[in-house]
């Protein structure tokens, strides 16, 4: 069986299983990852099959989880740690920013920390506070970390494989509202490199870039726009650090217009970096300023308001129209 349709969460589960099978140094750690299989069942069944020594329920302390994962990595292990929800990564932020990100450089390359930090992120699931955040910019700004986010099951499977194989720490943002979306996962495909963007729909009039949960939305936007006769190209960035500026540039040189979409607040978000750099690279190509669609500069609102807070079809189309109007 080389290809199988499965949900994104299941694809990560399968990817972790493959990694645990292939490399005895791979560990899975986090709160409730054992018997429960994680609150999203991403680690379902792994402890049963690989034991408590490899799939480890940890005390409720995120700094401790990442800090001990660093120690385990120093001992030669490759820990994949789960942060239960986006909003709970901050107690571990110090360990991630001052230790995990810097130890390779601090040791002049002597020490490697192949730690993957899995973070289910983003909104759209009607959750209570702290369960819908998109903090990727807070990690991308930090040198020493890599930051990625798959948008579909096949990428989720392969990007997790690559993240675990990476000798650098990788912050792996999982688009939780897409956990149940199914797609074909091919175990024999040759995957794209971890940090390369992919054109998921070709177009000529404007480029939409997104990653994680917003890729699907952008595809829907492109379909809707197509009905109005507008040809949008959609890029799935897949990686937030590094950002594949070459791919964006290539697309923008063709379409001359760019709209960036993410759930995170626009202010100091990924869109800012993309807009700044692409404007520099494509100054004479751009027919319109790079426009950004994202969250507002306000705490993530209660669930009943999240539809108004999050980018949706209309808001992205509105930005597309504004861009095309230049």
């Amino acid at each position: 069986m080389t290809a199988e349709k499965m949900a994104l969460a299941k694809a990560i589960n399968e990817s972790l299983r493959t990694a645990l099978e292939n490399d005895p140094k791979v560990l899975v750690m986090g709160e409730d990852v054992g018997k429960l299989g994680g609150v999203f069942r991403v680690t379902d069944g792994l402890q049963k099959d690989f034991g408590e020594g490899r799939v480890i329920d940890t005390p409720l302390a995120e700094s401790g989880i990442v800090g001990t994962a660093i120690g385990l990595a120093l001992r030669g292990y490759r820990p994949v740690v789960e942060i239960q929800f986006d909003g709970f990564v901050f107690p571990a932020y110090d360990q991630i920013v001052t230790q995990l990100a810097k130890m390779h450089a601090r040791s002049l390359g002597k020490v490697k920390l192949p730690v993957v930090v899995r973070i289910p992120y983003g909104g759209g699931i009607g959750a209570v506070e702290h369960h819908s955040e998109s903090p990727e910019a807070l990690f991308a700004h930090v040198a020493g970390l890599k930051v990625v986010s798959p948008s579909d099951a096949n990428d989720a499977y392969w990007m997790m494989q690559q993240a675990i194989q990476s000798d650098d720490p990788v912050i792996f943002f999982e688009p939780k509202r897409r956990y149940w979306d199914k797609a074909e996962v091919s175990r024999e495909a040759i995957p794209d490199p971890l940090h390369k963007a992919r054109v998921v729909r070709e177009g000529t009039d404007l480029t939409l870039v997104a990653y994680g949960p917003m890729v699907k939305l952008c595809q829907e936007v492109a379909s809707a726009a197509a009905e109005e006769g507008k040809s949008l190209e959609v890029l799935d960035l897949r990686s937030v650090s590094p950002l594949d500026f070459d791919a964006i540039q290539a697309s923008v040189e063709k379409t001359r217009r760019l709209v960036v979409v993410h759930e995170a607040p626009v202010f100091f978000g990924s869109g800012a970096e993309i807009a700044a750099r692409i404007t520099e690279r494509c100054f004479y190509h751009l027919e319109a300023p790079v426009l950004r669609v994202g969250g507002y500069h306000a705490p993530y609102p209660p669930a009943r308001l999240e539809e108004d807070y999050l980018p949706d079809l209309d808001r992205v189309l509105d930005a597309v129209d504004r861009s095309l109007a230049y």
């Binding site: 709160e31 409730d32 909003g87 107690p91 306000a298 209660p302 308001l305």
Partner: protein
Amino acid sequence: MTVESTAARKPRRSAGGKAGTTGSKRSTTGTKSTTRTATGKARGTETELVQLLTPEGERVKNAEFDPYVAGITDDELRGLYRDMVLTRRFDAEATALQRQGELGLWASLLGQEAAQIGSGRATREDDYVFPTYREHGVAWCRGVDPTNLLGMFRGVNNGGWDPNSNNFHLYTIVIGSQALHATGYAMGVAKDGADSAVIAYFGDGASSQGDVAEAFTFSAVYNAPVVFFCQNNQWAISEPTEKQTRVPLYQRAQGYGFPGVRVDGNDVLACLAVTKWALERARRGEGPTLVEAFTYRMGAHTTSDDPSRYRGDDERAAWEAKDPIARLRTYIESQTDTNEGFFAELEEESEALGRRVREVVRAMPDPDRFAIFENAYADGHALVDEERAQFAAYQASFADVEEGNQR
């Protein structure tokens, strides 16, 4: 009294092969025994549990804590009973409302009524309470309208009440962080020269968070008038307490230089007495105390959880025999002059509460869209203003279209 304790379980090396040791069993019997343990002469721990009312509803004597409930009247006993019954009824209604789709989530306190009502009723009006997300019974004692608690679970707000109206802080979801807020608040109380006390609630899982340890340190160093009330309901979602500690949690306190006490968390009288004692210590300027209420989470962690994946029914069954409400009822029936009418009326009151909660929740309106931008800042922020204006224009553009369509 000795009870089931996480301390009884043996530690083991994470990897197989190594034999378990008796390390986890060592008694916390002070400096001498520390050295003794060192040389291997560990002894089993006699974990003490303060209990005033047995699961069978019998009153047991306790020289130290009896005085704190000595003057309790029959009416007050019935009051505690009523509090627990109504809290449980409210909780059940909320669970039902979640199933009906009226709430997005509910964190039930089922089984923890005594810990919450006992401790909640021990507080004075001017005391200040810092809850987790599960202290519906404490909120009840503080006079917070229970329907106010539902807003965040319905998704219409992130905390709907004014903390200063009832000195009951907002529910806090980031585990353990409120322990520091409580400590800081208590430092402020001391600065003001007031004799109020502060109580911080948290769970067994939370005891592992660095913030809780730092709260212990700060409260001890500043001798802050704060009571740390840990409801050890033996589970942190799917993790049993042995994943957080290998000795009983109340013992954590002594290493920070203040007393820790374990109380039967299903015994409302004991919870009342021990919390009163701890709050009075705080008022007298004797600093922090850790109270561990040993109880059990009878239900799921939240309505999103499925406990059948990680624990057996037998455990729950054993704890059903220790039900906090049942034992107080037995005691009231045997020791006070309480007629059936009281229970029947309470039953009616319960149903009325359920109805009211149902109606209020169903009528709870969605917030205005523009609430997104409200209260992001107290003094305003230029970008928020700009984004609000853009949002308004964007919303208005639909109105225009709709109007256009109507024309």
